[in-house]
């Protein structure tokens, strides 16, 4: 933020009472988003927030921008319409692990592969909160919930792997409580033209408390947070004693001393081929043990909305603007004279 910022965070707050449970990770994410938007020189009225159904999907009501709280799972499809109809808008999608990956999985992957100009924030708390505690498509195998009294037998999605598989032009992961990092990720996603997905590990302190303890507890976090930075070898640990090595077998955690720093993978999220990013996403299958955080992929690619505008411009260039009189005569006509 600069001193000349046009907006305060309060400019993005509404008069609606925020009704998440006390202690919910959503509050922190809301603050991060409002803080980031206030730092921008973008007209407030050009932001649109579109959400589906779930705890996180109440988000648009708390943002003093244009917003739509829509149908369960359908936010990426509806936001695709907003962003494609008017590519000059900045469109944000707020979704959760149930909304985005279960009922709305299809729309999510298609928005990503089309590279629609969307910024998708996926609040992953690994549980259904609004319906009070059923397992979700990111819950770990064996999790005991109301609908899995003997433990789940569903294998979970890794949202980052999924987004990379759909070849989204931007994929990143952050933690709700780390506001600076979240804001940095929001900025990077926003600056990428096409479809971006930011997975935020978000603590549900009521139905799935401490799901991310490996990454947040003082005693474990240093050895488990793998901060990835573009152009730098991926090392982590209190003294950067661990690193990530990448070869044909995939990515794995090693001790830097064992392999030498020159054998540690140098992170390049701008690589066109998403293979390395995918390998990195497989280091952990959930927030357990060493888990990569930061930008996995950030490539330049024209967005769907811009490509469509280009086609319209090209059609008008070659065929001239539409002429309805000509159109209705385009298949040949004949005259019936007055009798």
């Amino acid at each position: 933020m600069t001193d000349t910022a046009r907006y305060e965070r309060s400019d993005f707050q509404t008069d609606q009472e925020v009704r998440w449970c006390p202690g919910c990770g959503d509050y922190t994410i809301l603050a991060s988003v409002q803080t980031y938007l206030a730092s921008l020189d973008i007209d407030r009225e050009k932001h649109v927030f579109v959400s589906g159904i779930g705890c996180s999907s109440r988000f648009p009501y708390y943002m003093n921008t244009y917003g739509m709280h829509t149908v369960h799972g359908r936010a990426p499809a509806i936001a695709t319409g907003v962003a494609t109809a008017n590519p000059d808008l900045t469109v944000w999608v707020i979704t959760g692990d149930g909304d985005g990956l279960s009922i709305g999985g299809n729309h999510l992957i298609h928005a990503l592969r089309r590279n629609v100009n969307l910024n998708i924030i996926l609040f992953n708390n690994q549980i259904y909160g609004l319906t009070k505690g059923q397992y979700s498509p990111t819950s770990e195998v064996g999790k005991t919930t109301k609908t899995s009294p003997m433990g789940t037998i569903d294998r979970p999605f890794n949202p980052v792997s999924l987004a990379l598989g759909a070849e989204a032009s931007f994929v990143a992961r952050s933690l709700d409580m780390d506001r600076d990092h979240t804001i940095a990720m929001l900025k990077a996603m926003h600056e990428n033209e096409g479809a971006g997905l930011l997975e935020i590990y978000q603590n549900c302190n009521v139905f799935n408390d401490k799901a991310f303890a490996d990454l947040t507890d003082k005693g474990t976090r240093d050895q488990n947070r793998i901060w990835m930075e573009p152009g730098k070898p991926i090392t982590f640990g209190k003294d950067n004693e661990y690193g990530v090595q990448l070869d044909s077998a995939g990515a794995r955690v090693v001790e830097v001393a064992d392999v030498g720093l020159h054998n540690i993978h140098v992170h390049n999220p701008a690589a066109t081929n998403p293979a390395a990013a995918f390998a990195l996403s497989r280091i952990s299958h959930g927030p357990y043990g060493p888990t990569p955080l930061g930008i996995f992929r950030d490539v330049e690619a024209q967005s769907y909305g811009r490509a469509l505008e280009q086609q319209i411009a090209a059609a008008q260039q070659t065929r001239g603007p539409g002429d309805l009189e000509k159109l209705v005569r385009s298949r040949g006509t004949w005259m019936v004279p007055s009798a």
Binding site: I78, A85, N106, G320, G332, W334, P337
Partner: protein
Amino acid sequence: MPDEAVIDQHTTPERIDDVVIRFAGDSGDGMQLAGTQFTASSALFGNDLATLPNFPAEIRAPQGTIGGVSSFQVHIADWDILTPGDSPDCLVAMNPAALKANVHDLVKGGLLIVNTDAFEERNFAKAGYDTNPLEDGSLDAYQVIGAPMEELTKEAVKDSGVKGRATLRSKNFFALGLMSWIYTRPLDPVYEWVTKKFGEGSAVANANISALKAGYNYGITVEALHHTYEIAPAALPPGEYTNVVGNVATAWGLIAASEKAKLPLFLGSYPITPASTILEELARHRNFGVKTFQAEDEIAGIGSALGAAFAGRLAVTSTSGPGLALKSETLSLALAMELPLIVIDIQRGGPSTGLPTKVEQSDLLFAMYGRHGESPLPIVSTSAPSDAFDAAFEAARIAVKYMTPVILLTDGYIATSSEPWNLPDIDALPDISRPFASIENGDSFLPYLRDEETLSRPWAIPGQPGLEHRLGGLEKDSLTGNVSYDPDNHETMTKVRQRKIAGIANDIPDVEVHGGGTGLLVLGWGSTYGAIRTAVNRVRAAGREVAHAHLRHLNPFPKNLGDVLSRYETVLVPEINTGQLTRLIHAEFLIPTVGYNRVQGLPMKARDVEGKIHELLDEGAST
């Protein structure tokens, strides 16, 4: 077969008022193309016409079987016709299966043109014939003309550059050429089309033109044909005409509405028979600023359209029955958000996948009630291909003016058939635009503050400063649009949503009655228009009194409908369903009706409606 005399090829053709011709063959035989080109020539010649394509859902059903038969029927006339005809006067059968599937419809004494090369043992078995129908006397009631179309086509195209089995592909043009000679159709429009489609001088263009000429010359040469016919241009109301297919007219109506609403057009849609051609047609017109989005599924089709509506576009989604089911949840959201949205349902035979390429009117009650919660919305219907442009325009007018989703019901028959359309005066189409919301400085924006007359709420779109607001599926406060769980507010909002839609009755024309009397009224909606009007006119011409009223608006009904219905002793409602309009009429007016219901996947036949009218009049006379 007659062989009285060598034909003088210059004999004056016999003048006839109208003829119904059906081209039938294997689905790979190109009968739709032959029929379409025959139609195009007739249209440019100035005949009135109506067409009925009929094809299997399978792209290539097993060759030579009844299931694989595809047909195209066209009715051409020198007078104002409304239907593709009940029974063909002339049938072209490219193989035994096509003969077997269609000959029972051919009028006795009718002309039967067959491709004799396909009449061989192997094909008899596939079609279920024990003996050769050309030789066993079973076709004695018809004038049969056989032509070895495959041999003659092969011979005709041998210098075209097309080789091998591909030479046989031009046999539909041979058939078209022969038919063009019999019915004195000009060949020039076909030459032009072939040249444009396949490229001047290309092998395929050469082959098709050679086959066309060979068919025409075969007619001149062989002795079997002792007679040709001509149908004079029709005495239609004066004006400029084009031959238009229903789905194309629907697409054009949307483009017109976009211009007159001053809103760029956005179509979010997923391919589904028989609606896909709307998406295809609009995708061709990017230079009108039209954005088409082929969605990942039906839900995303309507979802993207709803997003586009929020962004201030004229938003449309097109589908058929199964797709409408998938769109239902988002349709309720559109209704709660009160955003303009046009949902086009090209009805087909159901339930489930049903009869994807066939017509039915069985989604009326689904359009009316197929949503959760109290969720009324307007329903507009199309009665013919030449009516589709106006119907689409009307749906858009209501959507924008009343800030509501509108369902436009058309059907598989209207979608694929064609007829002459008297071109509208584009400049005279009404302005249907509405201003976006604005507020005085210092006021706060109230997204649900309604217009007193229409009860529509203001439309503010992203990019407009000071009007930032949130819409959602949760019940909204009746002014601010903020989430409200207040009991009274929910009742207020439920009732105002009802009143808004009901009030549209003040803004639509009265239903018109054709014909007089107080005895029998035939009430219809949608594609039964042509059959009902033809039947009513025939009965009236026979000196009996009967009237016809046809509904464009199915929700709300025109204000005078109750009065009109109550003037008649009997109300007959023909529908291609088991009585859906009948149920709505009963519920709304408590007026008894007589249903005439057919569900064969076929358009309503004038003959059948005529029979039912006579039956009711006879009953009335005897009591």
